[in-house]
């Protein structure tokens, strides 16, 4: 998984912005062969794989939905 340095730094410092959360979702979705939009739709429908990558997207999507 290729992650830009600024995103990596924000993750390490617990300072991710909403835009960076979206960016991370997009990167993780790519690992599952999905686009951001597809991943968000599947997250809302509970259709993502329940392994660590899918769960991370699902939980991050829940943060954005708040």
């Amino acid at each position: 998984m290729t992650v830009p340095d600024d995103l990596r730094e924000a993750i390490e410092n617990n300072t991710m912005t909403e835009a960076q959360i979206r960016q991370l979702i997009e990167i993780e979705a790519g690992e599952l062969g999905l686009t951001y939009v597809e991943a968000m739709r599947k997250a809302r429908a509970g259709e993502l794989p329940t392994g660590p990558l899918g769960t991370d997207i699902e939980f991050l999507a829940a943060v954005l939905a708040a």
């Binding site: 998984m1 617990n14 991370l24 392994g51 660590p52 769960t55 991370d56 829940a62 943060v63 708040a66």
Partner: protein
Amino acid sequence: MAFEGRTPAAAVQLFCDHLNRLLNTTLTRARLGFAGEPGHRAVVDIRLKEGVDSFVGLKTAGYGLVFLQLAQLVTTEAVGRRRHQLRTVRYRYSLSGDPEHDALVRWDYSHEQEHGFKPWCRHHIQGSLEVRLPGGVAHLNEFHLPTGYVVIEDIVRFCIVDLGVKPLSQDWDDILRESSRTLRAGLATGL
């Protein structure tokens, strides 16, 4: 001990710090972090420094490498004028053979019945494991087997005792017991 702070972020950080001390003295050097605005919602989960993976590989005794994920969706509530108390609204702990595929087993909890889904038990266990029933073979994912509220200490204990993951300290059992008492007393879980 309640997980409270003067700001929502401070309460979440306190929770993370507690769990990191626990994990780093029992099971793994991986660290938990959080993303999001804690006043609304934040996800607390494993964030490896050498990558952004939200899971950690654990070497088991005889079962190969499994990938552990510990994730909680938390929020904070104002208590009085200057304190904010942590609340867990969802958790998912999972063990997978492959991070990209469905978990072998996972422990799920949601504080609220999720809209659009059947009213299954909100604390349950699922997974891709096969279950042999008198009439045939099913998968654990077809059911929502009820559990109690599962704390992270329970998962750490399972990994060490049942999967044979080598603990990081000799007094891991005492550490888990003490931490479990703290967490159960401190979390406003809304059971």
